[in-house]
């Protein structure tokens, strides 16, 4: 009798764990859905990107090979968010040939940037922000 009760508890616990896990995976997927209207598109001029890649291939601005530096530059020059306002920056996920980086600002706001390599997809290819959104 005791054993059956224990088994029931165990099954119940397992069901809960699986449900929570599924819910977590589902909401996370939802959160990173690049089609979500929360994302703001950034126009990438492919000709300009090629020209920038050309500059980098000639040794200039190698920081554009680093997604974190590119994210910083985007915040600084495109969104006018000064560097000292950035509290934390971390990679969230590699997704659809790109990368999502999450940025926590000192005022508590959190935003995500979706970066791609518009010209060449290897360690010598520049990164650019294609979308961004505020999540908190």
């Amino acid at each position: 009798m005791i054993k059956i009760t224990r088994l029931k508890y165990l099954i119940f616990a397992l069901v809960i764990i699986v449900s929570v896990s599924l819910l977590y995976v589902y909401t996370r997927k939802e959160k990173l859905d690049l089609q979500s209207p929360e994302w703001i598109n950034v126009t990438i001029d492919i000709e300009k990107a090629k020209s920038t890649q050309e500059e980098v291939d000639n040794g200039h601005r190698p920081g554009l090979l680093d997604p974190h530096q590119v994210s910083h530059e985007f915040l600084e020059w495109q969104l006018n968010i000064a560097g000292d306002k950035v509290q934390k920056m971390r990679d969230i996920k590699d997704i659809e040939n790109g990368k999502i980086i999450q940025v926590t600002l000192s005022d508590g706001k959190v935003l995500q940037l979706y970066l791609i390599q518009p010209v060449r997809k290897d360690s010598t290819g520049i990164w650019q922000v294609q979308k961004y959104r505020f999540v908190e």
């Binding site: 040794g59 200039h60 190698p62 560097g83 360690s123 010598t124």
Partner: protein, 315 residues
């Protein structure tokens, strides 16, 4: 008897292999830069008086007419731009860094083919001339830098307060800035503290970091120019810091103090001629100037040269 013959044959084979390898090593990239580095660009687009004399000597030695010289100069400009051709029709293609370097070599082969067409029967003499010039230029430049440093009363082995580095031009975020190959100088100047490791942060805690640049040829200088980008080529090569100093050089610590890795890679094939990302280094730049700063020094559009840089306001 047979045993002796076998020994002799083996010895001969070993010697042949040894000499083949020696020849191959002897003809390394550092002896013949052609097809691996920007040679025509360095020769025709560097505003240095000695190199300008070298161009005149080339014309005289090989008896080249003005039109041929002009075509070689055009190829020099193309050489700088040629690597960008990698992208044409190859957008979104996935290539490894090695493939990238192979393609760069292939594109330099195109320059070689164009040079053959331009020079015709004088091509072989040109290649010989380039090999000799390259050897002489490397030796000359090493001595020249040492002499200039001594003239100014600086020793390369002491604190690197001021040095001669090859400057190229880039498009910056602002018109008045420079790039040096230490990303943390850039981060500190812009305030990206989170990306500077906490162990290193105290050494970069006193921005703004600036340099003074001087150009002997014109006697012009620009003072207090902010470092707002990383590069050329590398981002962790604080070559103005000694390996054992208060802010130790992070990479390429075996290089002499004050010598940028890109310069060593270009001139001596250091690190296999590659930068910290594994890319073939095609010019010896240790500082990048915006076109505005370059023009204030008296350099023309796309012109490069060796300039004095004062590093005293850097970590």
């Amino acid at each position: 008897m047979k045993k002796n013959l076998k020994c002799v044959v083996s010895l001969v084979i070993i010697l042949i292999i040894f000499f083949s390898l020696s020849v191959k090593v002897g003809e390394s990239a550092s002896d013949d830069p052609w097809g691996q580095k920007e040679v025509l660009n360095y020769l025709f687009w560097t505003a240095d008086p000695k190199i300008e004399q070298d161009v005149i000597k080339l014309q005289k030695d090989l008896r080249l007419d003005d039109a041929t010289m002009e075509k070689l100069k055009e190829l020099g400009l193309e050489e700088r731009l040629i690597i960008g051709e990698l992208d044409h029709g190859e957008a979104l293609e996935s290539v490894s860094a090695n493939n990238f370097n192979n393609k760069v070599e292939a594109l330099f082969a195109n320059i070689d083919s164009e040079t053959r067409k331009v020079l015709g029967s004088k091509y072989d003499d040109f290649r010989k001339w380039i090999r000799k010039w390259w050897k002489d230029e490397n030796e000359y430049r090493k001595k020249w830098i040492e002499e200039k440093m001594q003239e100014q009363g600086y020793s390369i082995l002491s604190d690197y307060y001021r040095g001669l580095v090859f400057a190229t031009q880039y498009n910056g975020h602002t018109s008045s800035e420079v790039a040096l190959p230490d990303k943390y100088v850039k981060f500190a100047n812009i305030g990206w503290w989170d990306d500077i490791p906490s162990a290193i942060r105290p050494r970069y805690s006193n921005p703004p970091y600036t340099v003074n640049v001087y150009y002997d040829v014109t006697g012009k200088s620009v003072l207090n120019v902010k470092v707002l980008d990383a590069g050329p080529w590398n981002i962790d090569d604080n070559y103005w810091d000694s390996a054992n100093g208060s802010n130790p050089r992070r990479l390429f610590r075996d290089l002499p103090l004050g010598e940028p890795e890109a310069q060593a890679a270009y001139q001596q094939g250091y690190n296999g001629g590659k930068d910290q990302f594994g890319r073939t280094v095609s010019n010896p730049a240790g500082i990048d100037l915006t076109p505005y700063i370059a023009s204030r020094l008296g350099l023309g559009y796309m012109q490069n040269d060796w300039i004095w840089v004062n590093f005293s306001r850097l970590p």
